[in-house]
């Protein structure tokens, strides 16, 4: 720890002068907490907005779960809360679909994209790379405010007469294009589209910032192969986002044209509400191609940051280097590239040319290989570790478990022949809720517990964290595991009630069980929310490096300053995973510790072929009668 406090604080002013007006102007409430351009504050803004949206989306899911468990019962409370969306205390079928749609939209985009990437990319990219802030702090601020505006618009749809968008989070036209097809396709859908355009703008501004910061603003010595895996993950995620999100905007703009200006990009041969529409020549399948060209990379946008966070948390808490750092990076790169050529596996039975289906099946199953490599590397990292079960570590292990369970069912769905019978059933619901829903949420929670001290200078209560983890972990499995079997019984998703099919009645008791498990999971989040809010204000004050971690962010002082480091930015001398290195008397060596200070623990590969250093090391070892460890 001693090495961490060696800064010459007298250089602070000199350094600030070089960097323009950092920290010199007077900060008002407005510039500090609202229109902040400091990446740490923006990260907190993203986090808190993300958590709020997460709670909203979770509440929506509980509402529709109640409907599924008790399709024939009346809940007057619902009528009191929702008014005409729940006449006679039962959800309206169209409103049920709205709930499903907005739950999906908020969870995928607002929580797991903005809440996850927005929080941790903003917080960690400058801190772990040794930068004073993002490449463009102003754009960073805009990114948050576009996101906040998008959130407000999305939630505002609950207060309009026709209700929120309700054609599923994938908003397939013609259903989403025709206000006559369902009430949610009226004003609610217009607002959904506007909200998403703003959201994508936010996401792009964030992404461009992350990429340029990673490429240009690393501190001295921080070459790409010395970056922590978190940064690799955020970097590649941002690239995926930049390349795929514009396609969604293109698709959305065409849909807006179809809805409002009478074009026929997605519409053809439609007779609805007693009237034949003039649109001819469009194709609903075009939307699906455009949507999934974003939609599939999107699941990796959600998952990769979670995997990056997990890599960091597991290495730190197992007190071991992450196993196969290079393999981890290459598998991330593999996933990044492959994620762009697998979108067709969402469309095997949509009328797409079957030959194309065969091609997409091949690329889809290839993407399982880098995923498998990552899983095995996590397991190898845990092997013979010395595992500290902080709440962050528990959630990281939970992520690995979900990643395995959900990933394996992907092998079924990626197979076009098997997908015929599984497409749009509960099997799909189970699959993606485990592999990207639960896994990514666990990655996010892991990150929150791990970097809470860095964000707020306080510690969260560990015991409440344990309680939160175990309840959430167990309830997630109880909720999603039985859904596989419903899917295998051919029960389609997005069904308002199972009452119309006699064969589905056997799942009614399972539905009740799932709903109560979901309620347990939701209640467990109270432990987290309480812990989070309480700890911000009254938590135990943290020390500088509470988890004894090697990365740069823990070399900054606990008190936040604009510019992150007082004085010079530290230079990086080694990779980020020197935990429990043989020959070292501490079990972690910070990235800013030069090799010359750790002569007893240096290994041949540390020198990266630098002959001068190798010679010095050999001389030292001769003097100290030590064999160079192979």
């Amino acid at each position: 720890m001693a090495t961490l406090t060696l800064y010459d604080t007298h250089t602070a002013h000199h350094d600030h002068a070089e960097h323009g007006d950092h920290g010199h102007h007077k900060e008002t409430f407005l510039t500090k907490y609202v229109f902040s351009q400091d990446h740490k504050m923006i990260a907190k803004q993203f986090l808190i907005t993300g958590i709020f949206m997460g709670v909203v989306a979770m509440t929506l899911s509980i509402l529709f779960r109640i409907q599924l468990a008790y399709p024939d019962e009346s809940f007057p409370l619902l009528e009191m809360l929702l008014g005409k969306f729940a006449p006679e205390g039962r959800l309206d079928p169209n409103f049920y679909l709205s709930l499903v749609t907005i739950h999906g939209t908020i969870m995928v985009f607002f929580v797991l994209t903005a809440g996850l990437s927005g929080t941790f990319s903003n917080l960690l990219i400058p801190l772990q790379l040794g930068a004073r802030d993002m490449a463009s702090p102003f754009m960073n601020m805009l990114s948050y405010w576009f996101f906040a505006t998008a959130s407000v618009i999305m939630l505002a749809t609950f207060f309009i007469e026709t209700g929120p968008a309700s054609s599923g989070w994938t908003i397939y036209p013609p259903l989403s294009a025709l206000p006559k097809a369902m009430p949610g396709s009226g004003l609610g859908m217009t607002m959904w589209l506007i909200s998403m355009v703003l959201f994508v703008a936010s996401s792009l501004m964030g992404g461009i910032n992350y990429v340029s910061t990673v490429l240009n603003m690393r501190t001295k010595g921080m070459d790409l192969w010395k970056m922590p895996l978190t940064i690799w993950a955020f970097f590649l995620t941002a690239i995926v986002g930049i390349l795929s999100f514009p396609v969604l905007v293109a698709a959305v703009v065409l849909l807006i044209f179809d809805r409002s200006f009478g074009t026929s990009f997605y519409l053809s041969d439609i007779y609805i509400a007693g009237q034949a529409l003039p649109n001819e020549g469009g194709s609903p399948v075009l939307w699906q191609h455009l949507f999934w060209f974003l939609g599939h990379p999107e699941v990796y946008i959600v998952l990769m940051p979670a995997l990056g966070i997990t890599s960091e948390v597991i290495a730190t808490n197992a007190r071991k280097p992450i196993f196969g750092y290079h393999a981890m990076v290459y598998s991330l790169i593999g996933i990044t590239v492959l994620s762009f050529i697998v979108w067709g596996h969402h469309m095997f039975v949509t009328g797409m040319n079957p030959f194309l289906g065969g091609v997409f099946m091949i690329t889809t199953l290839i993407i399982a290989v880098p995923s498998a490599v990552k899983t095995f590397n996590y397991l190898a990292t845990l092997w013979r570790g010395n595992i500290r079960f902080t709440p962050a570590m528990l959630f990281a292990i939970g992520l690995v478990s979900f990643f395995i369970s959900g990933g394996l069912t992907g092998i079924f769905l990626g197979n076009a022949a098997l997908d015929i019978n599984l497409h749009d059933t509960y099997f799909v619901v189970a699959h993606f809720h485990l592999v990207m829903g639960s896994a990514a949420i666990f990655g996010m929670l892991s990150g929150i517990y791990h970097w809470f001290p860095k964000m707020f200078g306080k510690m969260m209560d560990a015991k409440l964290g344990y309680l939160h983890f175990w309840l959430t972990f167990i309830s997630a499995y109880l909720v999603f595991f039985p859904m596989h079997f419903m899917g295998l019984d051919g029960v389609p998703r997005r069904y308002y009630a199972f009452t119309e099919f006699e064969s589905m009645s056997e799942w009614l008791s399972v539905n009740k069980f799932i709903t109560w498990s979901a309620i347990l999971g939701a209640v467990a989040q109270v432990a987290f929310l309480y812990n989070f809010v309480y700890s911000i204000f009254w938590g135990k004050k943290t020390v500088q490096n509470p988890w004894e971690s090697t990365t740069l962010e823990w070399t900054t002082p606990v008190e936040h300053l604009h510019g992150n480091w007082p004085g010079e930015i530290p230079t990086v001398y080694r990779w980020p995973y020197d935990y429990s290195k043989p020959g070292s008397d501490v079990d972690f060596i910070s990235q800013i510790t030069p090799l010359s200070e750790t002569m007893s623990s240096n290994l041949p590969h540390d020198f990266e072929g630098n002959e001068e250093s190798e010679r010095i090391q050999l001389d030292w070892e001769k003097q100290n009668n030590k064999e160079l460890v192979k």
Partner: protein, 402 residues
């Protein structure tokens, strides 16, 4: 000590809150009994606030219990430290143990799910290609289950075995390229096998020879909000031309938009349930009038979207009659059905259509009893329309000549 004091104040507050809520409730109860003449709706919902209060109280109680347990644990920890034990309660060991327990319970739960809920899934495939799909499913299931069990055993056993101790040091193992190679190549090989199997099965299902298509029974299924319309090809086994702009024409009778200038339409049959002979290939030509629907017959492992403006199809051969299946699943009320699997609006959950597989003999008997889709009334309306058109054309001509 400070913390102790704080907790006491908190629990005191909680108790006050509890008591006040109870009192409030009593008053509320008294109030409802006093005012007996409330209107129906209000009376019906009067218990709601009370119910909510009770649940909130229950939740509060649980929170207090949890807080108390937390308190007791920290006191226990403190006393242990005071007594001079080096370490208090080891939460690392505790969590490691919980992971082990989770593994045991979880594996049992998985086994239970596989056997109990696994028994509730679809019966064996009623179609020929479905048998191949099921075989591949079972193979994939076996492989993935093995991987699932092994990786989870490793994950949770490692978590238990290597939980933190001050006495040991983690083993520094940054990489091992041989291992990496193994777990890149082995999954790659297994996946290649699965991909190839899947690819050929998929091609078999989707690539049907022109002869195969011609010889199949042609059935057209059109989805709309929220029902299915089914027509058989009739004697020529071909469905006549349609045009969506004609829907609702012929005095509102033309629900599919049949183009009656196409003679192939005249022998097409309308049905109220899909009846098919066993062991004979059937080709479903699919369409939609309004939004996307998905033609899904789970027992036959058959699914294909119905797309407005685009014709899709799915061809398969049923292999078990309804009667066969009733024997197999031991349920005399069993019936096949067609449902919608693509979100299509408010009544998406209610688009059932009956399907029956029978012997060739029964099918032949059934098909002759089916009515033509083009009724006499439709034909009359069509001819009237034609006549009117001719006269307008004629008058136009006269007008032009003048």
């Amino acid at each position: 000590m400070k913390i102790l004091k704080y907790i006491n104040i908190k629990s005191a507050f909680a108790f006050i809150a509890l008591i006040s809520l109870f009192v409030n409730n009593l008053f509320a109860q008294a109030a409802t009994t006093a005012v007996a003449t409330v209107i129906d709706a209000e009376e019906k919902n009067a218990y709601v606030p009370k119910m909510v209060t009770y649940y909130l109280l229950l939740f509060l109680l649980v929170c207090i219990v949890i807080a108390l347990i937390g308190k007791i644990l920290s006191v226990y920890d403190l006393t242990k430290k005071v007594q001079g034990a080096k370490e208090g309660f080891s939460w690392d060991k505790f969590n490691g143990f919980l992971f082990l327990a989770f593994l045991v319970v979880g594996l049992y739960g998985t086994y239970w799910s596989y056997t109990v809920q696994g028994a509730q899934i679809l019966p064996e495939s009623a179609s020929e290609h479905g048998v191949k799909i099921d075989e591949m499913f079972n193979l994939t299931l076996i492989i993935t289950t093995i991987v699932f069990v092994i990786t989870h055993i490793l994950l949770f056993v490692f978590s238990f075995q290597y939980s933190y101790s001050t006495k040991k040091k983690a083993y520094f193992l940054p990489h091992n390229n041989t291992l990496e190679k193994y777990w890149t190549v082995i999954p790659a090989i297994v996946l290649t096998i699965l991909v190839l199997m899947g690819f050929f099965t998929w091609r078999d299902i989707t690539n049907i020879s022109p002869d195969g298509i011609r010889n199949a029974i042609h059935v057209e299924v059109t989805g709309h909000q929220f029902a299915w319309e089914v027509r058989y090809g009739g004697k020529d086994n071909l469905n006549g031309r349609k045009n969506y702009k004609l829907i609702g024409g012929l005095g509102g009778l033309n629900s599919l938009g049949l183009d009656l200038s196409d003679k192939k339409n005249y022998d097409d049959l309308t049905v109220t349930e899909i009846v098919l002979p066993v062991n004979k290939s059937v080709r479903f030509n699919l369409g939609s009038k309004d939004v996307l629907h998905s033609f899904y017959m789970p027992h036959f492992r058959a699914q294909m979207n119905c797309v407005p403006g685009m014709s899709t199809s799915f061809q398969f051969t049923p292999r078990l009659t309804t009667a066969d299946m009733r024997d197999k699943v031991n349920d005399p009320n069993f019936n096949y059905y067609l449902l919608c699997a693509k979100i299509c609006g408010g009544s998406h959950f209610n688009m059932k259509f009956a399907v029956k597989i029978v012997s060739q003999k029964e099918y032949d008997k059934w098909i002759v009893a089916q009515k033509p889709l083009v009724t006499a009334a439709m034909l009359k309306s069509y001819q009237e329309g034609l006549a009117k058109k001719e006269t307008t054309v004629a008058t136009n001509k006269i007008a032009l000549n003048n």
